[in-house]
Symmetry: C2
Subunit: 374 residues, 2 copies
C-alpha cells in the first residue's frame, strides 16, 4: 500500500483520498449534497463535478442556513513564503465562484508570521514582501473588492491577537501536541500559531454581532487547524465552522514522485507569473506522461490518462467537459500521442495564465481597496 | 527552614532574599555599585539605601553606558486583574525617580492578555477595564508624559505581535517548560505569553534603530521572564536587558502568614483608592504586630520592629530616615506602644494616598497623552 503524509506542513506520497476522508473524519461531498447546492447556485462548478473539491465538514449546515436566508462568510488564506503557483489558485478560483453565487463576504488571511515561524531561513521582511507579491495574484482571481477583505496577520494584529488569545485559552498544549505532533523542540510561536488561524472563522460572528456561519474552501491539509477551531467554537459561543476541501494539484512529476506542486521546486512547478515559453518548456520537459515508450506501442495499446500529469492539469484548467472527455478517450485509445496532449495542456494553461497576468498587473492599483489593517 | 515560592504567578512563604539572589543567579545591589550610581544621580533614593531595591542584572552595564553618554530606556509593567495596591506602587515610584534622574524614556506595558490567559474567571473586557483603572494610578505616580508611553498589549498588538513572533521563534517549548514549569495542561496562550513580555525590552533598540539599553525596575518574581529575554537578545542582535529588583511589600498579616500584598485579599490589602478610614481600620485591625501581649511587658521588654508589619510599611513610605530610626529605637526599647506605631503608619500612608488620589483624579484628563496604540 502506498504511504502518504498529509499535515498542514507536509504533504507527500500518493494520497488515497477515500482513505484520507476516513482518517480525517471528514465527509465526502456526495451527489445528494451537490444537488442541494445546485438548487441555490443554479449550476455546479466543474471543480465539484470532477471531485476536485471532494470532501467537507458542516457544509450541509451552511447550505441549510443559506436556504433559510442566513448568510455566511467565506474564509481562505495564503501563507506567503514564495511565488504563487497553479496549485494555490484552485481554492481561490472556487472561492470566487462561491462569492459570486452566494454573494458572500470573503476574509482572506495572509499568515505572514506562520511561514516566518516554521521556516528557519525566512525573515518577517521576507514573508511580508511575498505577502504583497501574492496579494496581486489573489486580487487577479477577480474577487469583489466590496465583499473581500485581505489582511496580513502582523498588520491586523490589533484585531487578530486578542481573539487569538481567546482561542488559545481554550486549547491545552496536550491537545495541540496530539493534533499537530508538536514536540518540546518546537518554538513557542509555532505552538501558538493555530490560534491565529482559527480567528477568521469567528470574525464573521464578531463582525456581525451575532452567530454567523463561515465556510472555508481550502486544500485538505489545512483541516487539522479547523478541527481545533471547532473544538473551541462552542466554548466561545460561535457556530462550528464549515470547510469544503480540495485535492492537491500534483507537481509536474506527479504525486507519486514529488507530491503536491511546491514553490520550492522551481523546475517542476508552474508559477502564476510564468510566461508561455516557460510553461511550454516545463510541461514538455518534466510533465510525467502516461504514454507508451514508442509511438507504435502507444498507437496500439493506448496511453494512460489517469496517471498522466498533463491530463490531470486539464481536469483542473479545461472547463469544457466535452472536450476533456474527448482528450481522455483519444489518449486512452492511442489516437492522441503524448506530445499532442501536452500541446493542448500548454495552450490551456498559457491562455489561463495570460489572462491571470493581465489582471495581476491591474491589481497593483487596487491593493488598498482590499486591505484590512489596524 | 522556611519554605517559599517565587515565580511570576506565585509568591508565597517567608522569603530569604539572600538565598533568592543565589537561586535566581542575580547580583546584589552592593555599595560599590550604589556609589557609582550616586555619582550620576547626585543622591540615592531611600529605596536603595534601605535595600528595598536589593538586586539586579546588568545594571552595572547600563550605568557604565550611561556614564559614557549612551542613554537607556526604562520598562516596567502592570498586569491588570484588579485594583492597584501599595505594593504595586513601589517599583513605579522608583521608576519615576529613575526617569527624573536619568531623563529616561519609560515604556509601560499593560499585559491585559496575560491576566486573561492565566485566570479562568477573567474576560478580556475585565482586564481591559482594570487596565484603564490602573492607568490612572500609573499616571498619578507623576511620570513625564513626554517621556512615557503606556500601552495595552491588545491595543498595541500591531507592533507587539510581530516582534513577539521574532522572540518566540528563538524559544523552544523545552526551554519555556524548564523556566516556568509549564506542563501539557497549560493553554497555548500561557505558553506564548513570555514572548510578549520580552518585546518592550527590545523596543528601545527597535525605536532608536540602534542597540539601546533597557533597564527594568520590577519585583524579583518577574525575573524569570527576563532571563528568557536575555537568552534571546543576542540571537536577535539586541543588548542584554538590565533589571533592578525589589522585595515584596507584605500583606497586613505579614509575609509568613499571607505572603506579598495581594489584590485578591481585600481586608489585608491597602488599595491606592482606600480612604483614611479604611487605612485606619485595616491597619488597626489586621497589621501584624511585633508588640508584646501586655503594655507592661512591652514597656519592659520592648517590641520587635523587624517583624512588625506597620513598621515595615514605614520603611517603604516614610522618607525621613531620621524619624524612621527614632520609631525603630522607640518601639524596640518599649517607649513606643503598638497603637502609637500604628497611628504613625496610618498617618504616613493616609497622607501619601491623599496626594496620590488627587493626582489620580487629575489623571482622567491626560490618559491620551500617555497612550501608545495602533
Amino acid at each position: 500500500m502506498p504511504k502518504y503524509t498529509v499535515t498542514p506542513w507536509e504533504v507527500s506520497g500518493e494520497i488515497d483520498y477515500d482513505k484520507l476522508i476516513k482518517e480525517f473524519g471528514v465527509k465526502s461531498l456526495d451527489d445528494k449534497l451537490l444537488k442541494k447546492m445546485e438548487k441555490q447556485t443554479g449550476e455546479l462548478h466543474y471543480f465539484l463535478k470532477r471531485k476536485i473539491f471532494f470532501a467537507h465538514t458542516y457544509f450541509d449546515t451552511v447550505l441549510e442556513q443559506s436556504q433559510k436566508g442566513n448568510k455566511f462568510y467565506l474564509y481562505t488564506g495564503r501563507a506567503p513564503s514564495g511565488p504563487v503557483h497553479l496549485g494555490h489558485l484552485i481554492p481561490w478560483i472556487f472561492c470566487k465562484w462561491l462569492q459570486d453565487k452566494f454573494g458572500a463576504t470573503l476574509l482572506f488571511q495572509i499568515p505572514d508570521e506562520e511561514k516566518f515561524l516554521f521556516n528557519e531561513n525566512l525573515t518577517l521582511d521576507d514573508t511580508r514582501r511575498w505577502a504583497y507579491e501574492n496579494i496581486l495574484d489573489i486580487i487577479a482571481v477577480g474577487f469583489d473588492p466590496k465583499k473581500t477583505s485581505i489582511f496580513l496577520d502582523t498588520e491586523y494584529a490589533n484585531v487578530m491577537y486578542k481573539h487569538a488569545c481567546r482561542v488559545a485559552k481554550k486549547i491545552t498544549l496536550s491537545t495541540a501536541k496530539s493534533t499537530f505532533g508538536f514536540t518540546d523542540s518546537n518554538n513557542l510561536g509555532e505552538i501558538f500559531y493555530t490560534s491565529m488561524q482559527s480567528v477568521p472563522a469567528f470574525l464573521p460572528s464578531i463582525m456581525e454581532g451575532k452567530p454567523t456561519y463561515c465556510l472555508i474552501p481550502c486544500a485538505i491539509d489545512q483541516q487539522p487547524h479547523f478541527f481545533m477551531t471547532n473544538d473551541v467554537a462552542p466554548k466561545l459561543g460561535y457556530p462550528k465552522t464549515a470547510t469544503i476541501l480540495c485535492r492537491f494539484l500534483p507537481g509536474l512529476q506527479g504525486m507519486h514522485r514529488e507530491g503536491k506542486m511546491s514553490s520550492s521546486i522551481d523546475k517542476t512547478t508552474i508559477f502564476a507569473t510564468d510566461k508561455p515559453e516557460q510553461v511550454n518548456e516545463k510541461i514538455n520537459k518534466y510533465a510525467f506522461s502516461g504514454g507508451k515508450e514508442t509511438v507504435e506501442q502507444h498507437r496500439k495499446e493506448g496511453g494512460n490518462p489517469d496517471i498522466d500529469v498533463s491530463y490531470q492539469y486539464l481536469t483542473y484548467f479545461l472547463e469544457d467537459s466535452k472536450r476533456l472527455k474527448q482528450v481522455y478517450d483519444d489518449y486512452k485509445s492511442g489516437r492522441m500521442l503524448t506530445g499532442e496532449l501536452k500541446k493542448i495542456t500548454i495552450e490551456v494553461i498559457s491562455s489561463f495564465l495570460k489572462e491571470h497576468q493581465m489582471r495581476r498587473e491591474k491589481a497593483r492599483n487596487s491593493i488598498d481597496r482590499f486591505m484590512l489593517r489596524g
